[in-house]
Each structure stands twice: as C-alpha cells, then as structure tokens.
C-alpha cells in the first residue's frame, strides 16, 4: 500500500488568540502544531504500512513552517517528505490548495490518500473532499474505522452520521478524511527522531509542479474582518446555600430561558 498523507500546521488549540489592531489578521504570537486530525491520518497510514507493506509519503503545502510537522511524521514512521513551499500559497483558499495538492499527487503512484477531516484553524473541512473530486477518486469523510482489503483492492470504512454511524465500501485508490477515535497515537521513537533529522525533504515550488498564479480559480469571497464572538453574558455567580442557589437558577430557567 502506497499511502499519501496531507498535512497542515495550525495554531496550538490551547492558545489564546488575539486579533491585530487592523481587525484583519491574528497577532502572530502563538505556537504552531500539526493539525490534530492529521495526526490520526499519519498514525493510520503507518499502521496500514506495517500490516501490508508499502510506503508513506507526507505532503504539506504553504509559504513557511512546514518542515517541523513533516519531521514529526517521519519520526513516527513515515518514509518520504514532500514540501511545496511558495510565497504565492499565502492565504490561498481551500479549493486552490486542493489544486496544488492534486498537481503534486498526480505525479506519485498511490493506493490511498489520508487527510485530517478538517484543520482546527478554519475548520472548513474542504481540502480533502475537493482533492478527491479533482483526482476523481472515491471519498469517505470523517472515518472512525478503516479496514483495508488489499487483495480485493477495497476498503470498508465507518463514518459518524447524525444519530448513529454508517459503514461504507469503496474501491481503491480512494481518499479518506480522518476523525478523532480512528486510532491511538504513538509517540516518536528516538531512532525515528534521528532518522527524521538526517532525511532530506523533497522541496518543490509552484513553478516546478507546473502551476502559475493564473491557474488559480477566483475565490468569490473576501475577508472583511475578524472579531471575537459576542459575549453578552449576565455573569451572575451565586454562592452559599445550595437550595437558595438552585431556586434562583430555576427562576432563571422559568423567566429568562422560558423552558419550564
């Protein structure tokens, strides 16, 4: 099984984020991490490789900072690192990011592609699905269980749906987006970390994969501003006798929330 895993770096989910004075960008003083959903993708790829052989190729695209997340993936057992690094990728929308990925991936033979189900930055969850559409391969999104049948060249996957789950079947090659719960993550080993340090990243830019800026489709939206969610909380904190507190809370449910 040759598996491609697409990675993205995102602001640390534990970080407090602040908006610049101009209201358009975030203040850049937060730590970056590998997108948490991508970790499940790397882990699943390595498990499949350990079981059936093959190799795991990690790909990330972006203007900067991709090296660290690629190295982390290699330290846990991935084989090849590809980095499309280009200043033109700054602020590019998801559909065009998928176009870049599809241009790189169409030069690499693969049996399956794994992507995190969404980045915890924009939360939009578009790149994986758009990439499957561009490559015209089956898509199963937000999978929580994945069974590969290499002989039949098929996969069975379980995905969460409202009020339950759905088991689906599809032929390979296919693209799966990974959800929390798919697997338990492993830690990088010392030898893995050493190997990751030594290994060279295959660095590409847009020109080398045959994409010019005018290949990008128009995005029909423009950021007008960032803001904090409106908080109009009453902020009344009760203390003391439990019965009295509860009575006040119930009055609140009756008169304000009006659900009693």
């Amino acid at each position: 099984m040759n598996i491609i895993v697409c990675l993205k770096r995102v602001p640390d989910t534990g970080a407090r984020l602040e908006i610049e004075k101009d209201g358009m960008e975030l203040k850049p003083d937060f730590p970056w991490i590998l997108n948490p959903y991508d970790e499940f993708a790397i882990e699943e790829a390595i498990r499949i490789k350990e079981r059936f052989g093959g190799n795991v190729t990690l790909i990330t695209v972006g203007p900067e900072g991709g090296e660290e997340i690629l190295k982390r993936g290699v330290a846990t057992g991935a084989d090849v690192e590809v980095y499309v690094k280009d200043p033109l990728l700054q602020g590019l929308d998801e559909i065009n990011i998928a176009k870049v990925l599809s241009a790189v991936i169409s030069t690499i033979p693969f049996d399956m592609i794994l992507c995190g189900k969404q980045g915890t930055d924009s939360d939009s969850g578009v790149v994986g699905g758009a990439l499957a559409g561009l490559l015209d391969i089956p898509l199963v999104s937000a999978v929580k269980r994945l069974n590969i049948l290499p002989e039949e060249r098929q996969a069975h996957a379980l995905r969460e749906v409202e009020g339950g789950a759905e088991v689906v079947e599809c032929p390979l090659p296919a693209l799966f987006t990974t959800h929390k719960g798919l697997n338990e993550l492993r830690y990088p080993t010392l030898s893995g970390i050493m190997r990751a340090k030594k290994q060279e990243i295959r660095c590409l830019d847009l020109k080398s994969i045959g994409i010019a800026a005018n290949h990008f489709s128009n995005r029909n939206f423009r950021r007008v501003g960032l803001s904090y969610p409106l908080l109009n909380r009453r902020g009344i904190i009760l203390k003391g006798d439990i019965k009295r507190q509860v009575q006040e809370a119930v009055t609140f449910l009756k008169d304000e929330v009006r659900i009693l």
């Binding site: 602001p11 578009v126 559409g133 939206f221 960032l226 659900i259």
Partner: protein, 326 residues
C-alpha cells in the same frame, strides 16, 4: 437563483432544512433572486407539503439510488441538473452529508466553497457572511463577491416565514447507475438512544468534575427532565467516560443550543470555543474561580452531585403543577 439542498431525518425533513431555507431567504433578497428547494430521493411528495410556502419552487429529483446519501451519486445528479441553470448560491446543511458533499460539488460546479456559515447580513448592497474560526474562538466576516456553495451550521438560522403564494412543485427524473456511486453504503448503525448534540435545544454537559462514567447518570436525568441531551468536555471523552460523538470543543463539535448547562467543566479555551454561541449558559462548579463562570449567564458554586438532584426536584415540581398533578 438561490438553491437549497434539503435533507431528511427519518420520515421528516431535518430541522436544518428549514434553517437552510431561512438562510436562502436572507440571500434571495439582496441577489433579487428566487428561492428553490431541492429534495432528492423517492417519495418526497408528502414531505414537500410542509415547505410549499417556504420556497418559490420545489424540485423533487427522484431515483431509488438517491434514497440514501452518496457523495458521488448526489454530485452526478446535481451536476446534470445544474447544467442549464444559473446559481447565485447553493446552500447545503452543514451535517455529515453536507460536509462530505460541499467540497465535491464546489469542484464539479466550479464554484467557491464556504462552510460552517452562521450568519448572513447585507451591508451597502454587499452580502456579508460570518463563520467561526479556530473552533469558535474568532469570528470571520467575509464579503461574498460571486457564486458559491455555502454550508450552514445547524441551529444558526431561523425558519423563514411562510409566503402567501404556494411554491411550484417540479418533478425531475434522475439518471444514475450503481457504478456512479463509487462509495456504497452497506450498513447503517442506529443508536436509538443518541440524537445529535448539534441539533439539540438543551445540552447538559459534563467534564472531569463528573468523576467517572457513572456520574453522568444524574446529568442524563437532568437532560431528560429538560427535554435535552448530554454532552461532554474533551477531558471526559479522553478519560473514556463518554463517546467522542458527544464531545463539545475544538476537536469535537461546535454547538449552539438554547440552553447549555456545564457541569464540572473548568472551561479550557478549546471547550469554550465549542459552546460560546449557546443562547443561555449555566455553569455548576465547585471551584468559584473556574474560568467557565466567565462564560456563564448564571453560575452555581457547589458540588454538582448536591446541586443537580435539587434542580431536578424543582423542575419536576413545576412540571407536575403544570400538568395538574399534586
């Protein structure tokens, strides 16, 4: 034309279908366009009766292979359907179906893709849409400058008012084969007890302070007294007490219920991000300095195992009186 893709839940239209129609109405005004609803699958006639006055046109796109959702099946049929039609916006419910379909459709229709939209507003003839970023820590406002596939967050839009006029019902026969589906559903596992937390009006959420899986019984009792569901923080899910399907927060779900009761949840930023859009918040916590109190309309300081039984008792008393029982 503004298009809305409907979704069913069991034998009825999912609530988010009405919400998508509400979002569609907000867009139809500024674009000066009509509003059309698309319902895919067989036997939609009865379901369509409830929305006849909510859209200008209702298309019933019928085929037996459309009875359950498949990404490529829906994509193929919609691609064919839209061949000779103009799209200003195509609104899709932000559900497990919509999150799967929106990017596929955007690529095939050549449209931009905007997901998780929670608001629409018109400013100086420009349509502005809002979406949460970073799990809800930040809100982004975007100006819409052309056609797009737009998925909406459940519970973010109001159902539109019924219009005077009845919408026109149009039947379309779809062409589709088994091979077109690419991904074949083989089994649906229904959890009868579990409904979807993003669609609930009341959520009673528990964190590490609940102490263990058994502790959630009392939360379930409170949820059922209020006609709601239970949810959990990442702490409670990572401890293995609850399933990830019920996790609220940045690596879980963003929820917007009418009432959110946080029990034994301290209020880490990634949890707050997921519940901030709740209409009313009550927090119950032993620690008077817990950050969750800053996000609450009302805080109760105390042991949740003392507080919640009291609350349930009071609620039952009130409901008993309403129902005329002693």
């Amino acid at each position: 034309m503004i298009w809305v893709l409907g979704e069913t839940r069991g034998d009825a239209l999912a609530p988010v279908t009405y919400e998508a129609l509400g979002a569609g109405r907000l867009l139809a005004g500024p674009f000066k366009r009509g509003l059309s609803l698309l319902l895919l699958g067989e036997g939609m006639d009865d379901l369509s009766k409830g929305v006849l006055k909510k859209a200008d046109r209702i298309y019933l796109i019928e085929h037996k292979l459309l009875n359950s959702y498949t990404g490529y099946g829906y994509k193929k049929v919609l691609e064919e359907f839209f061949k000779d039609k103009d799209i200003s916006a195509l609104i899709i419910p932000g559900t497990s179906m919509g999150r799967d379909l929106a990017p596929l459709l955007s690529v095939s229709l050549g449209l931009s893709c905007l997901t998780n939209i929670t608001g629409v507003e018109v400013i100086n003839n420009t349509v502005h849409v809002k979406r949460p970023l970073y799990g809800g820590k930040i809100v982004e406002t975007l100006a819409l400058e052309g056609s797009a596939v737009i998925s909406i967050m459940p519970r973010s839009f109001k159902e539109p008012e019924a219009s005077e006029r009845q919408g026109e019902l149009i039947r379309v026969e779809a062409r589709l084969t088994e091979e077109d589906l690419r991904v074949r559903p083989i089994e649906v596992l229904r959890e009868i007890e579990r409904r979807e937390i993003t669609e609930a009006e009341v959520l009673v959420a528990g964190g590490r302070g609940v102490g263990g899986p058994e502790g959630f019984h009392i939360l379930e009792e409170l949820a059922s007294a209020l006609g709601g569901l239970t949810a959990a923080s990442r702490g409670a899910v990572d401890a293995g007490w609850r399933t990830h399907a019920s996790q609220v927060g940045q690596t879980g779900k963003v929820v917007s219920p009418k009432l959110y009761i946080a029990c034994g949840i301290s209020g880490a930023p990634q949890h707050i991000a997921g519940m901030r859009t709740s209409r009313y918040v009550i927090a119950i916590n032993k620690d008077p300095n817990a950050p969750i109190f800053r996000e609450a309309d009302l805080g109760i300081t105390g042991d949740l195992f003392e507080v919640i039984p009291e609350v349930i008792k009071e609620i039952r008393e009130i409901k008993g009186i309403q129902e005329g029982k002693p």
